[in-house]
Symmetry: C2
Subunit: 193 residues, 2 copies
Amino acid sequence: MNVQSETADKRKAILETTLELIRQYGLQGTPISLIAKNANVAAGTIYHYFQNKEAIITELHNVIREEMLAEMFTEKNEGKDFRSQFFSGWTNLCRYFIANPGSLIFIQQYNSAPHFKGIKKKNNKIPVDKFSEFFQSGMDNGYLKKMEYNLVASVVFGAIMATAKYHITGRFDYTDQDLCKIATIIWDGIKLQ
Amino acid sequence: MNVQSETADKRKAILETTLELIRQYGLQGTPISLIAKNANVAAGTIYHYFQNKEAIITELHNVIREEMLAEMFTEKNEGKDFRSQFFSGWTNLCRYFIANPGSLIFIQQYNSAPHFKGIKKKNNKIPVDKFSEFFQSGMDNGYLKKMEYNLVASVVFGAIMATAKYHITGRFDYTDQDLCKIATIIWDGIKLQ
DNA sequence: TGTTTCCGATTGAACGTTCATTCGGGGCGC
DNA sequence: GCGCCCCGAATGAACGTTCAATCGGAAACA
């Protein structure tokens, strides 16, 4: 353990601990003191690595966004046909949330309380481009019904969040096969009949 | 204004004010002091009508659940065919959330932070019966694909929440016609092809 | 009718706790 | 000895809740 890796570890530990605590106690329910305790770090140390609590939240949000994008658009999808790309994109993101419940809880809470005290969201924009481009190409090439992108988005993303949420909270228990079935429902809904 | 109606009004004012504040500032972001101020009531008065903050939240949750059920299963749907029942049930609930953004924000936050400090959810069960019965009847009568209820639920409810959410946050702007289009996507996904 | 008694409704200051953040200092590598 | 990393007690604001004090109308009595 050299100094540099320890330093890097400390920052990382703070982020990971925060995400885990948010999963358990929610965005507002995780005080700095608890983060410090669980990350084996002093409260003051946190303020050495981050400007304030909001900065931790914002960084987590950015990290999770990147991970979500990476899950949906992996390189090995490039060659596949449109339908396969849709299926693997949908199930990958859903599996990501199931495997990383903290990310789902975080995203949901972050999006559902626009005006948390001390947490102001400046950039509320979604990288809509990649998704809308993808679906647009599906329509142009005759795979999908012609319709506005945002109508499709409601169904596709809504189902991902709900499915992962139900699974995580233990309401239902979805197998890999179940995820494919759900993706099939959606595909049947959006494909050109 | 006799005494009785004033008393009833005060209780109602507290509930309504709380819901509106939660819409703006989130579940954890609305202190009792602010509720008191906006409801034109002293802080102590709130504790005359409710045991504590949790009691307000719990009552709001029950009220909203009732309203949701009422929207989905209205009496004038009784005679209609299955497809029409699905359409009006889906769009009604979606329109309800769009017309009552506070209810959507509340439900989302209530469900997404299971362990809010001071807010313990004892009864996490959904009145699944009515919904599952409805979809089961659709399968038995040959309107829907044969599949487990919970797979359908993910898509149907996920889309409702996401659609209303996108509309409320102003990300997209859904017309009544758009809601029907989205319902059509889902219907095409779950119907027996 | 006028007066007194009573009691629930209402108030807002006060309390104890918890929170995010600050600060002064200690230790270690260069 | 200078600069960076780290500590944890200290700070003050904000929170949910309590409580002694007040209000005002209804009932009881004269």
